[in-house]
Amino acid sequence: MAKVILGSWRDDVTDNRGLKKSAIPEAFKGLKEFESGNDILAFMGWDGFFLFDRDAPVVDMARAYVEKAQEESCGYCTPCRVGTKVVAEKLAALADGHGRREDIDAIRSMAAVIRDASMCELGHTSMTALLKMMELAPEAFEEAVAGRAPVKRGNYRAMATAPCIEACPAHLDIPEYVDAIRSGNYYESLAIIGRKNPLAGVCGRVCVRPCEFVCRREELDEAISIKHLKRFVNDQIVSYVSARSKPLEEIPSASGKKAAIIGAGPCGLTAAFYLKRKGHEVHIFEDLREPGGMSAVGIPDYRLPRDVISSEVRRISEIGVKFHYGKRLGRDLSLSQLETEYDSVLISVGAHGSKSVGMEGEDANSEGYVAGVTFLRDLNLLHHIGEFKPPEGTRVVVVGGGNVAMDCARSAVRLGYSKVSVVYRRTQKEMPADHEEIEGAMEEGVEFLFLTHPVRIDAEAGKVKGITCVKMDLGEPDASGRRRPVEVKGSDFFIECDIVIPAIGQSSDFSFLSDGSGIETTKWGTIAVDDNTMMTGRDRVFAGGDCVSGPAALIDAMGHGLRVAHCMDQRMRGEKMSMPEAERMFRLLKTMSLPQAPVNRLGNKARCRLEMRPARERTSDFVEIERGLKPDEAIREAERCLRCYRIALFATEE
């Protein structure tokens, strides 16, 4: 636990130097070391600073902070571009011991201009901590003026971040690529996304967009449409490049090392992309006959057309990643065989099994009982080639309230079932599915039975005849913060139906793991990995994606792919494995969970609405229902970004 000696956040001052002030001691739980054995001495952020050590190098830290701000300044507006340079040079002079008395005043007045006149949040926030430090610890700056004590130098870890970047599991530089769209540089924008995300077209369609939920524009009017902007820029460039159909250049395997990846899902593809770019030979083994994992077989075509995935995978294979389809670990391949042939192995097999609801009479073999993931997989693999045989019947009940449940229900509508109902035990407000999905399903005529819990499947001669449910009531909030549903006694009722599709959760199949393999699984049915390196208990064998996190979003798996590729690369090069420094800083910031300052700006620009195909037209086929943004809409949307860039800096012992 890091105890604050002196600090301020949003003008809330904590001062524990001596007994001069009787401020409440404040401390950060879980914050002490930057990495093991390396203590954090101080933190400088966008709304203030904290000194955890009496010897924290105040002046030099301020210099490092402003230098970072200058480095991150895009150069667009004058105060941030020039002002931070002037302040950084003056602080450097102070730290070097040849600063002058008047420099301190100049820094103070210049800092105020940068804060008040800059264009974006980087300029608005980059001087806050410095000004507060000059106010609360003026002696440090006075002493630095030439002729007094030499200035202490320190070690720093600094980065530019933003709420959306922090929320994104892959930490995409969202304001930067949005900015490139604003200036019309689509190619550059896609290149920025491509630094971390090889599946921009997929993410731009189906990402659960944690970034948009923390968008600070929401305070002014509405969050910006980050997802749609990503799709826009991808589709612009893809249609442009594919029109000329020149393949990408293959990247040579210069390292001489080979990596095997099991599973061509979002995690495996992302990891493959980065390992290839690091110069390794990469082979992906995939059970199915096509790539994409859950993004291909778990999401119906009306949300994510299959040619989007195939064009992104084509780009990954063009750079030299080798794909081997129809290969399943445990059936066609063994872990020990892979270990001898490859320098490192990544297990990213996903979670393709279905969890049962726990209803009475729930029998996977009953006719008319189809697990959600199985239903979607068969539909996705077979429907476009005309070989899909939908379960027989006319009435469908889907159990669950997530995106998979919505996908099942809306697909069922498209397959022509006469009535499709969704049974969910809480209310619409608690549903984890995207509200667009819920509203889309409602428009398409899906019936929603909220506060309803299925208790029994009624079958006759192995064939589903209906489902018995009870009504629920919301009680006290549970650990997730959602109110726990409580059964209303005696409220049982029967729904007649021919097909029941449970879609309440997924699980992984680890039958390929033998005893003594050294790979442990957790009580949640996932593979246990070292949190730092993502390596399993077995050397050179890594794991990531849904089979580690449990069923999660596409972008979570991609974030895993990035992190695991970083450590696989280190392991293959014989370097010490460690979490990327940025990842460590993002985690520390999360631990600190600093309160957010309100956005003090003018708004009044609503977000662009996407045009959808009308419900009547779209329910008869699986053609994509959302139209992308048009160029003028995309530029207008990009202009709404507040660019909430901010600098975070940790002063560390080493």
Partner: protein, 364 residues
């Protein structure tokens, strides 16, 4: 008589105590100009969408702590705006000082001297070279690099990074060939990252040069262009094609040294293509055909009169028609002629000569 129906909603706001009725969607700057309130600007250009990079046009809006830029902030109903205060004066002055901190201050050798928007605003805010002592920054020397094209030169030290050139290339030319790229004080205008196969989209139209407030983008042709006060401007029409763009020939001592345009004039409203803007060197070329010539028996061109030359042409046409028929004659016209001239030309070939063999160079 036409009746203009005002369909746009109006917003009512107050600027420096004056009530303004502005159309919905107007910016504070537009609203202020409509009632004669002057807000200083530098990066703003009327032909372009607001840029908001220089921060000179900051104003105070009641209820918001941070000053807003008038050029790109929407005027809203009930807003109370102050464009003048000590705080704003200081902010603007400091911002201009920052802009000047890495701009060369020896104005006299600069061809823009006397016609420079930066000079004007520095003068307005009473800034002199000795005001920059505490702002001097160590910007590294930029490499002197070719700016995409053999016609245009870019001077990063002169550049104030207003961003007009980037906007004009995107919005007026529709190319997006250039972009502004950092980091920080080292930011400069650079070719935009196009796709790898076409590294530059620039067509050397010089629109960027036209909107540049400080001569950071300069044409490479000629040199010694004279100072604005010794330049005589002659309004004329571009002779290169039938569009008929208006332009001004800049004449110093009887010699054309450059082409400028007026943003409000003509069909082109200040815009020009590469030929119209830079293709003036031929005017003083010694190679230029200025008198009629006839080839003599020895095969040499000899000076003659228009009557002799045209008589000869007519005689030869007649001879060719008599001996080989009208189809032995074909006409090829030029894009440098006007529509009317081209019309007359094809009428001449079809009716006077009697041939349908007529074409135009722009179709080739």
């Amino acid at each position: 008589m036409t009746t203009i129906i005002e369909t746009k909603k109006k917003v009512r706001l107050e600027i420096d105590g004056k009530t303004v009725l502005a159309p919905e969607g107007a910016t504070i700057l537009e609203a202020a100009r409509a009632v004669g309130v002057r807000i200083p600007t530098l990066c703003y250009h009327e032909a372009l969408s607001p840029i908001g990079s220089c921060r000179v046009c900051v104003v105070e809006v009641e209820g918001v702590d941070r000053p807003a830029t008038a050029c790109n902030t929407q005027a809203l109903d009930g807003m109370r705006v102050a464009t003048r205060s000590e705080r704003l004066f200081n902010l603007r002055r400091e911002v201009i000082r920052m802009i000047l901190a890495h701009h060369p201050l020896n104005c006299s050798p600069c061809p823009k001297n006397g016609d420079c928007e930066l000079q004007d605003i520095a003068y307005e805010y009473d800034l002199a070279p000795n005001d920059f002592g505490s702002y001097s920054i160590k910007t590294e020397e930029y490499p002197w690099k070719e700016f995409s094209t053999p016609i245009l030169d870019y001077h990063p030290r002169r550049c104030v990074l207003c961003g007009r050139c980037v906007k004009v290339c995107k919005e007026i030319r529709g190319l997006g060939a250039i972009t502004m790229a950092g980091p920080g004080a080292l930011a400069s205008i650079q070719p935009a990252l196009a796709d790898p196969e076409s590294p530059s989209r620039c067509v050397s139209c010089g629109e960027c040069m036209r909107v540049c407030p400080v001569n950071a983008i300069e044409e490479r042709m000629g040199g010694g262009k004279g100072k604005p006060w010794e330049t005589e401007k002659t309004a004329t029409t571009c002779a290169y094609c039938g569009v008929g763009c208006s332009l001004e020939l800049n004449v110093v001592n009887g010699k054309v040294v450059g082409v400028t345009t007026d943003d409000a004039t003509g069909v082109n409203k200040g815009r020009l293509c590469s030929k119209g803007r830079f293709g003036y060197a031929f005017i003083h070329s010694g190679e230029r055909l200025s008198k009629p010539l006839i080839r003599n028996e020895k095969g040499e061109l000899e000076e003659t009169t228009w009557t002799k030359a045209l008589t000869r042409v007519a005689r030869e046409f007649r001879r060719s028609i008599a001996e080989h028929g009208p189809d032995s004659i074909a006409g090829l016209s030029s894009a440098r002629c006007t529509n009317e001239e081209n019309y007359l030309f094809q009428r001449f070939i079809r009716q006077a000569i009697g041939s349908n063999n007529v074409d135009h160079c722009a179709r080739l």
